[in-house]
């Protein structure tokens, strides 16, 4: 077990990272999705020459610009936190994260910010075609930024393409393509950007609905709703498809996360999916009495996890206590093997300090042995803490976040289908109940985004790198008070910025497209 653990530092560091990540994620999805909608609208303007399309494009571009600007640099704070609060983690992943984050910074960010300037400053200064190309490059650049960040996050969930080097005490990349094309990273990227497209579509429909309720900007609103409904419907179907892919990856590489997502304690073959449920108390759940109330879909969890209706899905109890029939090791055995791996590192350090080069080379060879990697080093992270409960994530938070996200995801499909139907029938302005619903649906889009990330990141606890590095081994040895101070500083700054952004955004929306009279289609 580790020497004295300051749980206050661990917990405050986690809370701070969660706060800054969730705040950052308020702005990113709208950038990811609205950039494509604007590019499509501007393409129509260049193709048809219709000034209405230009008006549409410029209006949504203004809102894009406000969101983009407020979101700028909110992500860099996360990198600062790596260095201050998570220094051991930062060292361990440095060789892997260095490449993706550098590419993100150099290519994607500069691509975005260079062409954003042309987008906003270049309307009457560059040709229509060059301006259009710039708008498309902003869309591509912002989504490419997301790719590299999600490649890094994907590696945290399933380390691949790397090997641990005892000489440098860190993981080192041996295959860049394995890291880039990790199935977890690919699914995560496609799922995340699709969800951003959904939010952007709901934003466009929400704002347009407000215009229609106020009987303003009707032509702009009706065209925008049609485009956003198509875009949103396709994106929300993609969210379901990629979400399914993600769940299957999670079942393979993070079975404890899947069990927490479903509140599954007792593993079973042909496991049911809890469509709606209220979890029982912790002690009752651990005894197999998982829910006070549940509405289940028979065998659907087995299908969701493995694509087969009768497969065994391990529960938290199986993953904690072991299940020899399903060849699941108990955590106690993983702890033992993790300690053996750490002992080998200790032997290596001792041999290095003693100048015993023969022993050093022998131990380095052992670290490279496939058998050692598969049966001992893969449990390295378990060797830091002996309490079994530590390795179980917060089940209620993971469970409810997951179910809120999925429920909203399916609601959004129906929502977009309905709005597309109304648009095609030409009855949108008369459907005032549904227009009001669109206003209430917009905050739900943000809720779905945040609960998605909460599922992903709370569900992976206590791992900062799955099975290799837990939170207790990742945090810096600093005073909890300094982490608390920066936490509250962030909370105050972010609140002020959020109030400012909402204020500027609402003012811009109320001003409309800055021409007199909205006209009707």
């Amino acid at each position: 077990m580790m020497q004295h653990i300051d749980w206050a530092v661990v917990d405050w560091s986690r809370w701070q990272f969660a706060l800054t990540a969730l705040y950052h994620w308020l702005f990113v999805p709208l950038t990811l999705g609205l950039s494509w909608i604007i590019a499509f609208m501007e393409s129509n303007y260049v193709r048809t020459g219709d000034p209405e399309w230009k008006k549409l494009t410029q209006f949504w571009m203004k809102l894009f610009g406000i969101n983009f600007a407020i979101g700028v640099a909110t992500g860099i704070i996360l990198e600062f936190e790596f260095g201050t609060n998570w220094s051991s983690y930062s060292w361990f992943v440095g060789d892997i994260f260095g490449a993706p984050l550098a590419i993100e910074g150099i290519m994607a960010f500069f691509l975005e910010s260079t062409f954003v300037a042309i987008m906003f400053f270049g309307w009457n200064r560059v040709s229509k075609k060059f301006h259009l190309v710039s708008t498309w490059l902003v869309a591509i650049g912002s989504n490419l930024s997301a790719l590299w960040i999600l490649v890094a996050n994907g590696w945290m969930q399933m380390p691949s393409g790397t090997v641990f080097n005892p000489e440098t005490a860190r993981s080192e990349m041996i295959n860049f393509w394995d890291v880039l094309f990790s199935p977890v990273a690919v699914n995560k990227f496609l799922h995340t950007i699709s969800s951003g497209f959904v939010l952007a579509a709901l934003f466009v429909i929400g704002v347009s609905a407000w215009f229609l309720l106020k009987k303003r900007e009707q032509r702009l609103a009706l065209r925008s709703i049609t485009i956003a409904a198509v875009f949103g419907l396709l994106a929300s179907l993609s969210v379901v498809f990629t979400g399914d892919g993600s769940a299957k990856q999670i079942a393979k590489v993070q079975p404890m996360k899947l069990a927490a997502m479903e509140g599954l304690y007792k593993g079973t073959e042909g496991a049911n999916l809890k469509a709606i449920a209220i979890l029982n108390s912790k002690s009752k759940r651990e005894n197999g009495d998982e829910c006070i109330f549940q509405l289940e879909l028979p065998k659907m969890l087995s299908w969701l996890a493995f694509g087969k209706f009768n497969e065994f899905v391990p529960g938290i109890n199986d993953l904690t206590n072991g299940n020899p029939k399903q060849r699941i090791l108990p955590i106690s055995e993983k702890i033992r093997r993790g300690k053996e791996a750490r002992q080998l590192l200790t032997d290596f350090k001792n041999a290095q300090d003693a100048g015993d080069t023969e022993q050093v080379e022998q131990i380095k060879a052992r670290f490279r042995e496939q058998n050692f990697k598969d049966h001992y080093f893969r449990y390295f992270g378990y060797g830091f803490y002996d309490e079994v409960d530590y390795y179980i994530p917060n089940v209620p938070v993971t469970f409810y976040s997951f179910h809120i996200m999925v429920t909203l995801g399916f609601y959004f499909i129906l929502f977009f289908a309905l709005f597309l139907f109304f648009s095609i029938r030409g009855v949108m302005p008369k459907r005032r109940f549904w227009l009001r619903l669109a206003l209430f649906t917009l905050p739900l889009a943000y809720l779905a985004q945040e609960t998605g990330w909460i599922t992903a990141e709370v569900g992976r606890q206590p791992w900062t790198i799955q099975d290799l590095l837990p939170t207790v081994a990742s945090v810096s040895k600093i005073d909890a008070g300094s982490v608390q101070l920066t936490f509250w500083l962030f909370a105050a700054t972010f609140t002020a910025l959020a109030i400012a952004e909402v204020g500027i955004m609402l003012k811009a929306i109320k001003k409309g497209s800055e021409t007199k009279g909205g006209g009707t289609k």
Binding site: K62, I77, K339, I478
Partner: protein, 70 residues
């Protein structure tokens, strides 16, 4: 090359000169935010600890080996 550089610089200068009100407000927020993030947070409150505590890679590696070993 110099002509191109001049053109690009004028492009940005004109762009900023003719910013609408909302653009000016947004830029003000960006500048305040960047100042808070880089001058206060990064410089005073959020140093890179391994770079601050240790002078070279060898020292950082030794520290990490101590952290990770049993």
């Amino acid at each position: 090359m110099l002509q191109l550089f001049k053109k690009v610089a004028l492009f940005y200068i004109n762009g900023f000169k003719h910013l609408p009100d909302w653009g000016r407000q947004v830029w003000l927020i960006i500048l305040i935010k960047l100042a808070v993030i880089f001058l206060i947070l990064k410089l005073l409150l959020m140093p890179d600890l391994l770079k601050k505590k240790f002078d070279n890679e060898k020292q950082r590696i030794q520290f990490m080996q101590e952290q990770l070993k049993l």
